[in-house]
């Protein structure tokens, strides 16, 4: 009897684990469950050992757990790969015919291939597997067959039908197994479930960008940043987006800036290593006061590091990227809603303040799939702040707030002249120290307004009464919430930052008389240091992890439990 189940599907790259998990997530969501999945995989195209965790929970739980309740082993080395997460309670589903009896008593022989062949081809075994799960949990088969009909519609009726047969064979097997092994899912499904959408972080980012009026992207593929590029590339016609695959990251950001100068709403996407190469471009954005949104999908460094794994190690990089002083904003969303919303904010702020704005995500966030109420997905007004120029237009006119009205070439009677050298109000090279001084101030002054309007963090649990605040940013939003919930100790409250720079000075008051913990997925505690520096407060504890894996709920609970007894 499971009230909160963690199932892991594991096999080699290319074995189609995604076919199983894609189907299950869809059907389970339709049925009304709360579902979540996250994936870990190797940097290779075929072979190796990858796995995807699916959680089915009554409460919304969008976080990675270490525990494996059921493991579907699709290749030999699965148990070796996951040994740290398998316990005596883990049920293993595997084909004994293929893998022998290596997994002992806890293994339920699951003849996927046999059923698949029965349905028409060994290729259907993934569908069989999904069927087994749905059968075990008594999820109506029709939901699955409906899904398959749609999915394989294009491939012709025969294929669709065979898939349905495979599904059904698996389903019956699952139902029987559940009965024998006394397996059941005890999750109450609300009668009237609000409409929910199901997607991964990259998709949310793409939706946010499209909603933000993004119409230009030039980028170079790099995991895990590529998802956004692919999302937009597949919607060029539909939304009028110009998509260019750049020859390198330097080209990407310079093309983005060129486009932005000419009036496009531009974004670039990359990961830490590619971003290193963009830094001179970031500095250019600062100098020419041209908006650009920069998405950094973080992964473990240094250098190539672990290209398909996760880390939150690029905060300092984003914070100090590009030589010279100028204003910037850094968002760090942790939920689908936050991704969609901060992405829109990012574009609007970039335009309003004529600055580079960063969105920091990571592999874990981008590739985790979860749900969100459709009605809560909000569109912000697309703000452009462009002016039609007159003949006397000056791109860098001095104004009270340091923001010069921004024109674009070809719109109005003026000329728009931007210069990476220090320049005067007209954009002409200058060596006047006086103008230099004023231009430096101009570029920095907007930080004040950016601070005052910075997003407030989210409170998790009883922040007021808590003695200790546990602070997270970015992808750790849900793991923190669940850990605090599991811990159930009112001495702990949570605070999550979906904007990490600049920080709203108001937060200082939150921290009064509190012990502060910061949890983050890097080796040194970059946000802890930033927070400590900006607020002048001591961080009592850094909960860190930099192995390339995300935090598990269990280890955060343990870490907090332990501190409680310190």
């Amino acid at each position: 009897m499971y009230q909160d189940i963690s199932m892991v599907f594991s096999g080699a790259a290319g074995q189609g684990v995604q076919t199983i998990t894609g189907a299950l997530l869809h059907v389970l969501k339709k049925y009304g469950c709360n579902v979540f999945s996250c994936s870990e995989y190797m940097s290779r195209i075929r072979g190796g050992s990858n796995s995807t965790e699916i959680r089915i929970t009554e409460k919304k739980r969008d976080a990675y757990v270490r525990r494996i309740d059921m493991l579907f082993a699709l290749s030999h080395n699965v148990v070796e790969h996951l040994k740290d997460r398998i316990s005596s309670k883990t049920l293993i589903f595997a084909e004994k015919e293929k893998f022998g009896d290596q997994w002992g008593d806890s293994c339920i022989d699951t003849p996927l291939t046999k059923f698949a062949v029965e349905a028409g081809s060994a290729g259907f075994s993934n569908i069989v597997a999904a069927g087994v799960v749905l059968g075990m949990f008594g999820i109506p088969l029709e939901l699955f067959t409906a899904y398959l009909q749609v999915k394989f519609a294009a491939k012709g009726e025969e294929i669709a039908t065979k898939n349905c047969i495979a599904a059904k064979l698996g389903y019956s097997f699952g139902r029987d197994t559940a009965a024998t092994a006394n397996i059941s899912l005890q999750i109450s499904i609300p009668a009237a479930m609000p409409e929910r959408v199901l997607m991964d972080g990259s998709t949310a980012l793409g939706i946010g960008a499209v909603a933000a009026g993004c119409n230009f992207i030039s980028s170079y593929p790099m995991s895990p940043g590529t998802g956004l590029l692919t999302f937009l590339a597949n919607r060029t016609k539909e939304y009028g987006i110009v998509v260019d695959q750049a020859e390198d990251e330097i080209a990407a950001i310079n093309a983005g800036l060129g486009a932005s100068y000419a009036g496009a709403r531009a974004i670039v996407t990359t990961s830490g290593g590619g971003f290193d190469l963009m830094q001179e471009g970031v500095s250019l954005a600062g100098m020419i006061e041209t908006p650009i949104v920069i998405h950094i999908g973080q992964r473990p460094g240094p250098a190539t590091g672990l290209p398909t794994r996760t880390e939150q190690g690029d905060l300092n990089l984003a914070l100090h990227a590009g030589h010279g002083d100028f204003a910037r904003v850094i968002f760090s969303p942790g939920t689908l809603a936050e991704i969609i919303d901060t992405t829109q904010q990012a574009f609007n702020l970039a335009q309003r303040y004529q600055i580079p704005v960063f969105i920091l995500t990571d592999q874990y966030l981008l590739e985790s799939v979860s749900t969100i109420e459709a009605a809560s997905v909000k569109r912000r007004t697309v703000e452009t702040f462009l002016v039609k120029t007159t003949e006397t237009y000056q791109r860098y006119a001095f104004t009270d707030d340091g923001l010069s009205p921004r024109g674009v070439p070809g719109y109005g009677d003026g000329l728009v002249r931007v210069d990476s050298d220090e320049h005067d109000e007209n954009g002409l090279i200058t060596e006047s120290f006086d103008i230099r001084r004023r231009m430096v101030e101009k570029r920095l002054n907007r930080i004040r307004s950016l601070m005052e309007t910075a997003c407030m963090p989210t409170f998790i649990g009883s922040v007021d009464q808590a003695e200790t605040l546990v602070i997270s940013w970015g992808s750790n939003r849900w793991v923190l919430e669940e850990a605090l919930d599991v811990l159930g100790n009112r001495a702990f409250g949570g605070i999550h930052f979906s904007q990490v720079f600049p920080l709203n000075p108001v937060i200082n008051s939150l921290f009064e008389n509190k012990r502060l913990f910061v949890m983050e997925n890097n080796a040194t505690g970059q946000f802890a240091d930033l927070l400590s520096f900006e607020t002048g407060r001591r961080i009592s504890r850094k909960i860190l992890k930099a192995t390339g894996e995300p935090f598990t709920v269990e280890e955060v609970v343990d870490a907090l439990h332990q501190s409680d007894h310190e």
């Binding site: 959408v197 260019d244 310079n254 932005s260 001179e280 674009v408 009677d413 002249r417 990476s420």
Partner: protein, 294 residues
């Protein structure tokens, strides 16, 4: 025509900057003549400066847009081409002309040079090829001749000079030309053809640097350059390659034209409405987008 009189006898064009403006080039530099040729070409083509964007990187050559009354994007060293690409893709109604130096374009910016040509976007690239790094005081550039000594190359340049025409031809650039700044009139004509060409056009312009390049002087170019014959076949890519790598005489003119290559912006289906006029999603379209994931 004598150098000084060419410069002094400045054509009045709509692209002239106000008189007071400080031109940071050395007296006698080929840049002055090339500037004149470019402004005249723009004028004679009847281009509206409000729709013209001059794009450059950093260097002496890259200051050119500072001296042309038009829109300007004076970006980073070596990065003029990506910026120009972004500009043109964001608004194809704009005339986009890149002016930069040999170091900027073929050194720091070499990778963009390769891939911009592959894209074939309708921009014109004019390279002030003085075969030296001017602004940073005389180091070798990619086009420096072997053996030339410089403050950094005291034993002479050891690298094979970069041959921009040959490389452009290898990449199937659709318009490949070479000019000589010392001949303002014919340079202007070549630049006009390049700008009028509907696709990526590159004009490598020999430009004497009177301070740092004591090898490739006005005299040197005068002795070695000769225009391609009238009947030169501009469609023969391999032939053009042979002429481009020829060393005894340095040929000038349009080496190669290929109107067959499709432009990037056309293939992408970019229309005439600039991106700054795109309409954001309305609520309905937004809901539709979200509802794909129901």
């Amino acid at each position: 025509m004598h150098y000084i009189s060419q410069i002094m006898n400045k054509t009045v064009t709509p692209f002239d900057m106000p008189d007071g403006i400080d031109v940071a080039w050395c007296p006698g530099c080929g840049n002055h003549m090339l500037l004149k040729a470019v402004k005249s070409a723009l004028h004679e083509l009847g281009i509206d400066r409000k729709n013209l964007v001059m794009v450059s990187g950093i260097g002496q050559a890259a200051k050119s847009p500072q001296y042309i009354k038009a829109n300007m994007f004076n970006g980073l060293h070596g990065r003029s081409l990506p910026a120009a690409l972004g500009i043109k893709l964001a608004n194809r109604n704009l005339v986009v002309v890149v002016e930069s130096g040999d170091g900027d374009m073929y050194g720091e910016g070499g990778n963009h040079f390769l891939h911009a040509i592959r894209r074939n976007i309708d921009i014109t690239v004019i390279v002030h090829d003085n075969m030296v790094y001017g602004l940073t005081k005389g180091q070798a550039s990619p086009t420096s001749q072997r053996g030339m000594t410089t403050p950094l190359q005291e034993n002479g340049v050891m690298l094979e000079p970069f041959n921009p025409l040959a490389v452009a031809l290898a990449l199937n650039a659709p318009f490949v030309a070479r000019a000589y700044a010392g001949d303002v009139e014919r340079t202007k004509e070549i630049v006009k053809q390049a700008i009028a060409f509907k696709g990526f056009s590159i004009v490598d312009v020999f430009q004497p640097c009177v301070v740092f390049n004591k090898v490739n002087t006005y005299q040197w170019f005068k002795e070695r350059t000769v225009y391609l014959p009238e009947n030169h076949n501009v469609r023969d890519r391999t032939g053009a390659f042979g002429l481009a790598i020829q060393q005894d005489k340095l040929l000038l003119g349009v080496f190669y034209r290929n109107e067959q290559r499709e432009r990037y912006e056309d293939q992408m289906g970019i229309g005439t409405i600039p991106l700054y006029q795109s309409n954001p999603l309305d609520e309905e379209a937004f809901q539709k987008l979200v509802n794909n994931y129901l």
